[in-house]
Amino acid sequence: MGMTMSQKILAAHAGLASVEAGQLIEARLDLVLGNDITAPVAIREFGRIGVEAVFDRKKIALVPDHFTPNKDIKSAEQCKMMRDFAHRMDIENYFEIGEMGIEHALIPERGLVLPGELVIGADSHTCTYGAAGAFSTGVGSTDMAAAMASGTAWFKVPAAIRVTLEGEMRGWTSGKDLILHLIGLIGVDGALYRSLEFAGPGVATLSMDERFTIANMAIEAGAKNGIFPVDEKTRAWAASVSSRPYTAVEPDADAVYERELRIDLSALTPTVAFPHLPSNTKSIGAAEKLRVDQVVIGSCTNGRIEDLRVAASILRGRRVAKGMRCIVFPATQEIYLAALREGLVEDLVKAGAVVSTPTCGPCLGGHMGILAKGERAIATTNRNFVGRMGHTESEVYLASPAVAAASALAGRLADPEEIMKAPGHGAFTKASTAAGTAAGTATAEREKA
């Protein structure tokens, strides 16, 4: 029986000729990851195993990103515990804040994950690296501890859902809108325990940054992993981040998929997930144009350079609405630097946004942008659960950088198309795409708003 891409990677790392869905296996790991929230628990548990050293000091990555630069004494203590451990174990991939970034942007940028590899991380968004054609999945701290000692982890081989992409996105629509649309379609447990495997001619139209955004939110559909085929774009990206050899994997022609979905990229529109579930999606045309207090652009979902370019292209030469707090946080120091060089930081600051150092900060309601009772935020992050960004009576709306930036200007939920066409704004459209005019009905609804 044929294997899916995910199954083939698992089989190869378990030393088996083939595996099938439901089988429990033990597999060799190429990278084990943890952050300043999960690693301290893992380090404590690691101590109980009673081994002297980690299995491979080059195959562990420790990233202090959630509460850094340290927001209080307790988080400083946690980071110190991680730093001391990294030092003691001589961990090569420990990233102090001057070289850091949000783990899921940093790990690929540093070439620590390549096609065909197997990665676990004590963070649920470890599934991000599926964009690179790797099998990567989130686990807990105890798994991380055991893996740091043994270099292996147990897996239940997942069944898969194949998502075939056709056509090409138009206008301001981007990878974020595709994944929000998909989660809206199948629900927050629509892919529970399963792989989401992307396929079809539409894949080639997606940039690597978009693929990272999409794979990042596979977990929001409950998936174990999300994975993209390895194509020319993947190979070019891999060559730009690492010179390590890798073995790309393709699904078998007769691979078995539990379910098949087809998405026409040209039919997608900017999409917003309303509180309090990522699956609670509406097309921007059908969304109430609610007043917004804060806009957050960044995170491991949408804090990459393309995201900042889109946001800056909308905010450039304009001002965010009076009373609006617009917070931008580039995902890594490299991205921050690129944004500086390209003049994006200046555009953003001039427009009235604040630009933070890389951190998870506001995404998880940690620091750098907490919401008060009754406040509403539009964020390019990945979760809008109750209390995610602050008070339990605050609200988070998930959207793309384009929708977030347009909303920052309007002071309410806004369609970038509408904002960029408004009098005095000129008729600017996403540079790479022909002027994508939304369907007539959506336009009419927008005009009413």
Binding site: L24, I37, T38, P40, V41, R44, E45, R48, I49, G50, V51, H66, F67, K71, D72, K74, S75, Q78, G121, A122, D123, S124, T126, G138, V139, G140, S141, T142, D143, A145, A146, A149, S150, W154, V188, D189, L192, Y193, G222, K224, L277, L364, G365, G366, R383, F385, V386, G387, R388, T392
Partner: protein, 173 residues
């Protein structure tokens, strides 16, 4: 092993952000985590929960982040078992790995109301709703997971495995 306690019932998609909000993740102390357990969905949980009580949830229980602080908080609060229609994948894994008993049983969930007295036999996988006078059988654990649980959790399991590997390597030499 048998446990008996009161039911705290919640709905579908109970996420790790409400089980233990991120603002408390700057601690790894089980007792401190337990003192904030479920506070964003049920302010009274912490003051009412007693040793042996049971959390009953709908589908996709424990979805969201991979924070092991969630099952740790539940376990440290005295909860003997979580019964749900289904569990989010990482939560399921974490619970097994740290030795928090969990059972998947949609029928028992449908029948239970908050406050019901539940008697659970973990090794048999049976759930008796004493208040309603009804019996249920949960999905059994796969054998591999049983061996992790029997060892007392993944850490103990890994320790004994690495130790026996080390011993084997020594004899081979």
């Amino acid at each position: 092993m048998k446990t008996r306690g009161k039911t705290f019932k919640y709905g579908d998609n109970i996420d790790t952000d409400v089980i233990i909000p991120a603002r408390h993740l700057n601690s790894i102390d089980p007792a401190e985590l337990a003192s904030h357990c479920m506070e964003d969905i049920d302010k009274d949980f912490v003051s009412k929960v007693r040793k042996g009580d049971v959390i009953v949830g709908g589908s996709n229980f424990g979805c969201g982040s991979s924070r092991e602080h969630a099952p740790i908080a539940i376990k440290a609060s005295g909860v003997a078992c979580v019964v749900a229609s289904s569990f989010a994948r990482i939560f399921y894994r974490n619970a097994i790995n740290i030795g928090l008993p969990i059972l998947e049983c949609p029928e028992a969930v449908a029948a239970a109301s908050s406050g019901d007295e539940l008697e659970i036999d973990l090794s048999a996988g049976t759930i008796r709703n004493v208040t309603k006078g009804a019996d249920f059988k949960a999905q059994p654990y796969p054998e591999f997971m049983r061996s992790i649980m029997d060892a007392g959790g993944l850490i103990e399991y890994t320790r004994s495995r690495l130790a026996s590997k080390g011993a084997a390597a020594k004899t081979a030499r």
